[in-house]
């Protein structure tokens, strides 16, 4: 076999590759690209799976079609929905699963190297788990890689690696003279075990190779475990994989939800670029039912597309100082000065002390104001006046931002509501003896509610960037109100506490959740229409 041919074939030009990966479910047989790491590579396959033959029972790529392990040819057309919108193929993984995949992969590539499994792990860590770059450098200058990665000294070893015993060793790190146990690598830099333990402990979470305290010679996993007296090296491996995911973020993304450790891996990343022209975003759902955008890494931001979301978030960062005032939850009554706490999304405030009614946004009297739920008409009037335009632009933004953030808060509250619903479901199963399947309407409802809130939240950026005089914008605003009331209705119903009552009202839950879903869909479609027709034009 010619040197280099092993990887020349499969590792080139990953990101623009047209080949499409379908086979997610068969576990270790699948590889994806980027750095060649997780992609079925015919060259390597024939190396390690000699008996199966090239492409035998492993999926591999053909132009426009993929042969899966079941030998089914799937035409490229089926990677698109009926309306020509691309389909995303992805799966949800944990860091441990990714690490497992790496190890499986490692076994396959080991024959290429003439060094131990452990040493290859060190090399891969140094190369951020990028086999492609490693193999390239390895073929070019093997000895250089070995020294620069800290596998070997540039000169002859002066000591043998391992833990040593002494009567009283003077350690130059802690300067204590009575040390009994030490550790050294081939370099002969010898320090006490306590210092090494402290040193390693601090570095386990950094995910980088741990070297000798004095030189670039690398500690291997078994050295780390020997020094620490446990399997600490696994901790290092896990944090090292995190670095890998960050480095290869075009293929892998962390679920952005708090405390969720899921990683989504997209197989056909070449389709990602097709979404914007449909004003759609590549949404993925993790195993914990969190929906997020694989392109920008934000939570689901429909009806806005990635462009809307990006500009909106950027503006929020720029305006953050201005936004603080509007986001505080209490305000003094403009008339009597009593502190009024805001609750809910309504801008129509009534002072508990003097009964003065005013608008939360402009603090004007509500009677003269005559606005609806979203509209602060006073602010609209000022809009016509050129002199206050720039001030008004900020006002307009803060106004929409406030509504946006209110729905964000409500969505957060609904998350905690969702947790109590989980307990309710358990109670239903245990107390009334209802089967799991029969209680699924509850988590279903909560999902509809949270997704509805999220859609509402992101509908304000779309409204903000839309031409207010256009008829479709007005329809959009009407659709917002409809979703608001659908969502409020369902949210109210979810406050029901008694298990029996919940079961009795099952049909109501079902219908209200379904209504939220259909209102949600209508608003999303209307928003997309605004974008497609150029009525909503995100700008800075």
């Amino acid at each position: 076999m010619k040197e280099g041919s092993v990887y020349d074939e499969g590792f080139n030009d990953d990101d623009d590759d047209d080949s499409i990966l379908l086979e997610f479910e068969s576990g270790s047989d699948i590889e994806y690209d980027d750095t060649g790491l997780l992609r079925r590579d015919p060259g390597l396959a024939s190396l390690s799976d000699e008996e199966s033959g090239k492409g035998g029972n492993n999926g591999y790529y053909l132009d426009g079609a993929t042969i899966s392990s079941r030998n089914v040819v799937i035409p490229k057309d089926e990677l698109y929905e009926n309306d020509g919108v691309p389909k995303l193929s992805y799966r949800c993984l944990t860091t441990d699963q990714i690490y497992e995949l790496m190890l499986e992969r490692l076994e396959r590539i080991q024959p290429i190297f003439d060094i131990s499994y452990e040493d290859i792990i060190v090399l891969l860590q140094q190369y951020a788990w990028s086999e492609e770059r490693l193999l390239e450098d390895w073929t070019e200058n093997r000895d250089n890689v070995i020294v620069s990665c800290g596998l070997k000294l540039g000169h002859e070893p002066v000591a043998s690696r391992g833990i040593r015993k002494h009567a009283n060793f003077l350690c130059h790190i802690c300067c204590e003279a009575n040390k009994m146990k030490t550790f050294t690598l081939e370099c002969g830099h010898e320090y006490c075990l306590e210092c090494y333990q402290h040193y390693i402990k601090d570095k386990l979470l950094e995910g980088k190779i741990i070297t000798c305290m004095s030189c670039p010679l690398a500690l291997k996993n078994k050295d780390i475990d020997a020094i620490m007296g446990d399997n600490s090296s696994q901790k290092l491996m896990r944090s090292s994989i995190k670095g890998f995911i960050q480095k290869h973020s075009n293929h892998y993304k962390w679920c952005p939800f708090v405390d969720c450790n899921c990683i989504i891996q997209v197989g056909n990343i070449s389709t990602l670029s097709e979404f914007p022209r449909f004003h759609l975003s590549p949404y993925v759902v993790c195993d914990n039912q969190h929906r997020f955008c694989f392109k920008c890494g934000l939570e689901s931001h429909s009806p806005g597309d990635c462009h809307v979301a990006e500009l909106w978030v950027k503006m929020a960062q720029l305006e953050s100082a201005n936004l603080n005032w509007v986001l505080t939850n209490t305000k003094e009554c403009p008339k009597c000065g009593v502190n009024i706490e805001k609750n809910g999304g309504c801008n129509h405030m009534t002072c508990k002390s003097c009964a003065y009614e005013f608008c939360w946004i402009c603090e004007g009297c509500w009677a003269e104001h005559g606005g609806g739920y979203y509209e602060c008409t006073r602010f609209k009037k000022e809009d016509k006046n050129g002199a206050v335009e720039s001030k008004n632009a900020i006002r307009k933004y803060t106004f929409y931002y406030k509504l946006f953030s209110e729905h964000e808060n409500s969505a957060k509250l609904d998350w905690s509501l969702g947790l109590t619903v989980e307990q309710k479901v358990k109670a239903l199963q245990e107390n009334i003896g209802i089967s799991w399947i029969e209680t699924q309407f509850l988590p279903e409802s909560i999902r509809a509610l949270i997704e509805g809130r999220t859609t509402l939240k992101w509908s304000f950026p779309v409204a903000f960037y839309s031409d207010p005089s256009h008829n479709l914008t007005k329809i959009f605003v009407d659709n917002q109100s409809l979703l608001v009331s659908a969502v409020e209705d369902l949210s109210q119903l979810l406050q029901v506490k008694e298990p029996q009552k919940i079961i009795d009202r099952k049909l109501e839950f079902f219908n209200k959740a379904r209504f939220v879903r259909s209102r949600d869909k209508a608003l999303v479609e209307c928003g997309r229409d605004l974008l497609c027709k150029g009525i909503c034009i995100p700008h800075q």
């Binding site: 130059h172 790190i173 802690c174 300067c175 830099h189 402290h198 040193y199 601090d202 305290m213 004095s214």
Partner: protein
């Protein structure tokens, strides 16, 4: 306060008994982890004939964690910002517990001798440095006369 680790005592003793030319480091009497440092500007550098005041602090985790060093004297240098913070590899990623206060201060002195505008901390200074090196060096000299006397 916990007793001072032997390592710090040893290093302090040596800094006093065997000082590095052009560098002084005195531990504060109330806090033996806090050092007042002076570094003389290296010859043939724009900082020549200046004496720069610095502070050095040894964190609890020293020597596993690098010392914290900061210029107190105002200085015009692409790798030192307005707050006196220093962009130096051995103070960050390249720190190793086998290094010492002495080696760190020598590295700072070397940084004065050879500013590196391609790895800047003070971006505006670095830009000046790249755009017009002579003017930047003149300004560094001027600041040395003004503040480091």
């Amino acid at each position: 306060m916990a007793s001072l680790p032997k390592r710090i005592i040893k290093e302090t003793e040596r800094l006093v008994s065997d000082p590095v030319p052009g560098i002084t480091a005195q531990p504060h009497e109330d806090n033996l982890r806090y050092f007042q440092v002076t570094i003389e500007g290296p010859q043939q550098s724009p900082y020549e004939s200046g004496v720069f005041q610095l502070e050095l602090f040894l964190p609890d985790d020293y020597p596993m964690e690098a010392p914290k060093v900061r210029f107190l004297t105002k200085i015009y240098h692409p790798n030192i910002d307005r707050l006196g913070r220093i962009c130096l590899d051995v103070l960050k990623t390249n720190w190793s517990p086998a290094l010492q206060i002495r080696t760190v201060l020598l590295s700072v002195q070397a940084l004065l001798a050879s500013p590196n505008p391609n790895d800047p901390l003070a971006n505006d200074v670095a830009e000046d440095w790249i755009r017009n090196e002579d003017a930047a060096i003149a300004k560094a000299r001027e600041w040395t006369q003004l503040y480091a006397k």
